[in-house]
Symmetry: D4
Subunit: 248 residues, 8 copies
């Protein structure tokens, strides 16, 4: 609600076209309505035109089912992340077209066809073990309406594989780099392309990896300047972020 609209509302009060009480209700809501979005889950917001998102970790099968049941009453696409097989079965029982990506642990329900962007997001991973995060990111980016190119298994220990794909990477508008262990891939790509790079450290590895800390610190200390970082294993966040940039 912008200045003009407030002014118009007050004018209507003055002109007796609207009751004081009605106006009061509208003004009371003002700090919320102006933000133009609503939330079901406080972890991952949904905005107008966006799919509704539900983060399933720590929720029961029953909770996930009933939240999605409620979401289905509206006409938006739906994305459930960190969902297990049992959750999917429960959801499928109330919505036959629900689809499950077992690797990425996502449930997706498409109510309307999204027009994919012309520009695309490149999602690059160092190893096959990073696939769950790749898939979460890819499902997220796609349902948010983005064209996606996946380039997997191009870790720095065999850098020639990366070079073979350099043109696809350079063609992207945004690049998501997903890597565990020492996370060196983000720096190498950061030195090769001049696009915004969102790095996702993964918890892949063992020993002094300390649950992804190694890759996280690596990426934060990247000697390449175009790299920013999201939380460990946060494929959703990276894709959400990339989607905002891709649609600028």
């Amino acid at each position: 609600m912008n200045k003009a609209e407030i002014s118009k509302l007050l004018q209507r009060v003055k002109d007796n076209e609207i009751e004081v009480e009605t106006a009061m209700g509208i003004i009371e809501d003002l700090p919320y309505k102006e933000m133009g979005f609503a939330k079901i889950d406080n972890h991952r917001e949904i905005r107008v035109g966006y799919p509704e998102v539900i983060y399933c970790e720590g929720k029961t099968v029953e909770q996930v089912k009933s939240i999605i049941e409620f979401m289905l009453t509206k006409d938006n696409n739906i994305l459930a992340t960190r969902a297990n097989e049992k959750m999917y079965e429960a959801v499928k029982s109330i919505c036959a077209e629900a689809q499950y990506n077992p690797l990425g642990r996502t449930i997706t329900i498409r109510k309307r066809e999204e027009n994919l962007t012309d520009s695309y997001i490149a999602i690059i991973s160092a190893g096959t073990s990073d696939m769950p995060v790749v898939e979460e990111a890819a499902e997220t980016a796609t349902i948010l309406g983005n064209r996606v190119e996946k380039i997997i298994d191009v870790g720095v220990a065999g850098i020639h594989r990366l070079f073979a794909k350099i043109d696809i990477i350079r063609g992207a508008k945004v690049v998501i780099v997903i890597a565990g262990m020492e996370g060196a891939l983000a720096s190498v790509i950061g030195g090769l392309v001049d696009k915004p790079i969102i790095a996702v450290p993964t918890s892949v590895g063992y020993g002094a990896n300390f649950g992804g800390l190694s890759a996280l610190l690596s990426m934060l200390n990247s000697c390449a300047s175009g790299v920013s970082v999201v939380n460990i294993d946060n494929g959703f966040g990276a894709a959400y972020n990339a989607s905002i940039i891709n649609k600028l």
Copy 2:
């Protein structure tokens, strides 16, 4: 060098239009020349049309001076970060138009006038103690050719001050959020605007702040989805990143 060009080159060899040795030289260089950029410092790269950047921390006054002396032979703008007063004096003795930002610890030399972007980068800070990082980011963003809006001292402990500036923040194409202590500002802004947000944790604070670790973890765990993070106190990196996005 694309397929067509390689094909053409070989054809020219076949047609005796070019010597085997000349062709050999071109082919040998192939993986390097195609990257199309050069570096002076391996920490912060410069690309075509970009200013040349020098990171001064850990360098002597003499080293800084002679690197900039060399840079001056070319026609690019120059940005020196983490520079102290003595470095500035040394640089000024060889280049009168050099300017120093004592808070941001940057030296800037402008050889050509940059056309600033229409869209702008909002640089927001939680407290006045975060100013050094704000200034480093602002100087970097400006010399990279971006319009900048600074909104300082709007930390979450007095959230009304933030709301007073919400329109300027929402008008930006990219948002840089700089905060120390608990770094909550990034999450709050992430919930209010639908733009890419680059969060910079600062080392401002004491005790359980552990040199910026507190704000760093906070920002990585942000419950708002559009937030990505760079290294502690890395105003340059945030601005460089924001500039890439702003110019997309």
Copy 3:
């Protein structure tokens, strides 16, 4: 036992109204009796008029059952925290009126009706995943005799939801803020209300959350001044603390 009482006791010895041995017994107990409370479990103390508390984690079903069996011989209310379903069933077999809160994992047995305070404790949480801690805190505060107002799911990523409840929060005498991930809610509320705020970091989150460390550091570094912090997931401790303040 104050000075006057010791004096009186000695006078009674002098006046031969009491045997030396009896007096000796009383004096021997002196350092303990004067403290005026007894303990069953050394982790969570009970005082006069307070419910008896048992912390179940790390205890067997059998141990929990027999401790409560003993407690039932006295006439106090009973609170068991971190209790699982099996413990509840065992307790119920010896005390039909025992009640279980599966989310908060508490067993409560009410022997006497507590008069709730007029002033209330506001218990605020950032997300639905923080509910177990909310429920532990709410059950604790209630059985300690406090009126409670729960305001859940008002995390900073959707700050308008928080503002909608600001009057209820400001009306409280003490505020408990429960948040995981980046824990920013404590700082935001600390800037909005002028009441004692007890912050409870939760282990909700993943990756660089490091089991609640992220929220813990955030809250300790809060830029708002009225915030103090208890251990990660310690809903009981926060409520106990708040109860002491609420009853001042």
Copy 4:
């Protein structure tokens, strides 16, 4: 601005007693004005009737001086924390009645006499090395209008000294416990008194103390239930917190 006032404002618009534009200005400001306070420094807020507070660490002598110069134009008491001797001299040159506590590193300026509370805050420290934090807390609590009782050097290694003071501690309305090294004092006092206890870990110690981490973890894990914790060395925060509780 409550519902009644909004309703009244709109009625006045309707009745043509007030211009649309004037009403619009009032409504626009609504989310901020209702909070009813203003800030000079975003780290430590001041509220109506409170002294104005300035946190000096990381500020220049000149900055401190000019901020206090501005504060002097208003009629509030002033508290500057983490101030060094040079800052004090600068402040004294513009305000002769300024006082300096070299141990607590505070500057205080009293414009109006505060009526101290009847109830008092007990400030207890384990060792003489914790004195700087004790003094910061005491100066803060006093200028906030609280009566204070200091009990220093009663660490657990000589627990009889603590018992000698137990009556003074039990007589307090709120207790601040300040301890470095292993921070055990907070737990011991928590077991002896039934008052809200605010624990301040200090960075006193060496080796595996890790800058106060040892005492911090100790206090967070206290086996006594009435203990909450603030940041390492944060005497100001503890006193501010205690003051809110003491004045309930």
Copy 5:
């Protein structure tokens, strides 16, 4: 083998009382034999007159059984630590007099009756949850031939319970203090008794306890001077250590 013995051996060679080859064998063994002990397990050594010890964690039931089978061929007492119920059953099948302490997870086999020391080791614990470590320590100390006094559940949150036992504690020759959470008990006892105190941090607790780190740091930073520390949950090590001191 001391100087005199080497000299004598060489003299016997010279005097032809012993063959060169025999002497050579003795000399070759010299650096090993002189140490006068043998080991079965490289984690926990056994010495002459000591029971044989086996650390079961990370070993299979079969391995434990066969190691003890071998030990039984000798005439020493046997102590198995960190043994589970299945291991005990396997051992019992080959040695009927084997005894199991389920809380302390120890198996003990007594081949000869040990004469307990006159002086005793006091084993003190803060809470009932520390019982497993108490029992491991007690079983170890006893089979090593020490008289033991256990004083459990005397944590600092109810310090009067500790004072009730102070005479037993002061009567000991060595004191083992076992505590989790904030580990304050070690410092309090260190201030009350003038005996060697061996502190054992336990992993009892949650949240910012970080698996015993909290109690470990507490004990290392103890303000009382007679305290030394062993590894988290290491009841065996503490008792072994105490036994050496008790037998001095």
Copy 6:
């Protein structure tokens, strides 16, 4: 592909002995082929003449089986690390000669007989609990074609056992030292032999061991100069490394 070969290729183009398109294909591959190796898994590379390696952790039984099925089409030896029993059964169903080392969790398939080196790698471990890492290292070193000498259970707590084996250790060309707990063995051996020592910290231990951190830091801080370190529990990496050195 060296200079001479490129030159020759171009000459053949010139001489019309080879088609432009064929040459183009060869040149396009140039940056990869010249590296002289291929990869199936980006974690552990295989090179010409080396066995093919597959890291099984985080892979499904089905994935492991099909990767090895593919590998079997080639004529190399195969090493699968971190493989469980079920994976082995699946592999055995398609390749009868596959062998499983249950302690080392390796599957090995030998297609050609390797000629073992004359010089040998000594693999030394502190305790029997380190055996899984010893076995992984031994299987790796052997299939890479190295002669191996295992010396287990010679931890520093019984240093005479180490001296009994000193000649075998000194006879090696490379030494792998595997130790958990305090990892002191690496330093002791480093002071006794003048060979390259590769230290492998293991996660064996408990409490303040923190998953191998203790041994890791120990080995990195070794006061002996010939010691370098690989990741915790990384027997494969140590053996791979040792093999490169042993074959120099």
Copy 7:
């Protein structure tokens, strides 16, 4: 004050041999007097017959001087630890016989001659850089009345040097082992001698030493069973501890 004495006191009250008020005073003091010691500094206690100890770190020269001035009024020996040269000069100006150990940073004043114990404490260090801690421990042990044998520079990288001293080490009643870097010396000695070993990690080292953390963890995880640990660089604490044991 034992039972008999209380009984006697009460009898005297009954028999009118003593006034009620006098008896009351005695009984009030009961929990404190019975502890039988007094403290000047709450960090390091002094007991009957012990020297008075002052810990100088964090104290001003003036404070140290006046505390020692007060101590001199009594007839005890005095030990000041962590004292710098300036403190020594100040102390010397009031007490000519004060002696300074610049390496150990101790000031000692001897008022009475101590009779040294027959048994001795062996103080062993890994390297010359550990000398400050060696000297602090040696000065402390000596003024506490113990005979001391120092064996320095016998780190495990040259283990033969240690063996050359093994008889002196085995002859001690208690052994203090001081080592930085990887701290392996404690384990090696723990495997060679059957005496109580107090290990002192030092902050000697760099990089992954992390201020002594490496040696600290090493010693806590020692595979030898007779080792207990004190804080990093805490030579005083180790010697105090050793003295208690040596005098048992």
Copy 8:
């Protein structure tokens, strides 16, 4: 001293060719003499034919000078590491031919000309800021008698610079990779060359670099298999290690 020699010695005793006492002296020394080296400093050992090494950090100018004075009486080359300018001046005053490398902070004195190896050690660094570690490594490797090739400033952010030097790197017998920040260079080189790689993390960087921890973890978690790691900034250790390998 092998079996044959012991046998011979005993025979000579038997044959009266040697006195019992003389033989006894030889046998007593047996475990030590056989190691064949002596140490001045327990941090960095010297062996036969090796230069004598002194680690200057934490030593006074006077100590360094007198140790080198003693070393000069022997005929070995001398290497002093971590030496400052003042130490150099002091050394120069007693040995004119001493040379100082101010970047690498090494003093070298050459008494005999070393014959450099044919094979060489490649020392590669990511950035110019890593030069001090490069120089320490280079000086160490050279005085140990190795040919050295330095390749500096080839960090992964500009990977083409690395490829330009790939032939020199591949020609080496051992490779030392020195990198700070994210330390990715080790993995990239590990994927390109099949030689032993010794990685040295440096403390170059800021913020989440945590004094070199970032690069250290990166290198330990390297996805390339031929990489082992030494302590942060430990150029000496890497070169010493490389020298052993280079001379195999």
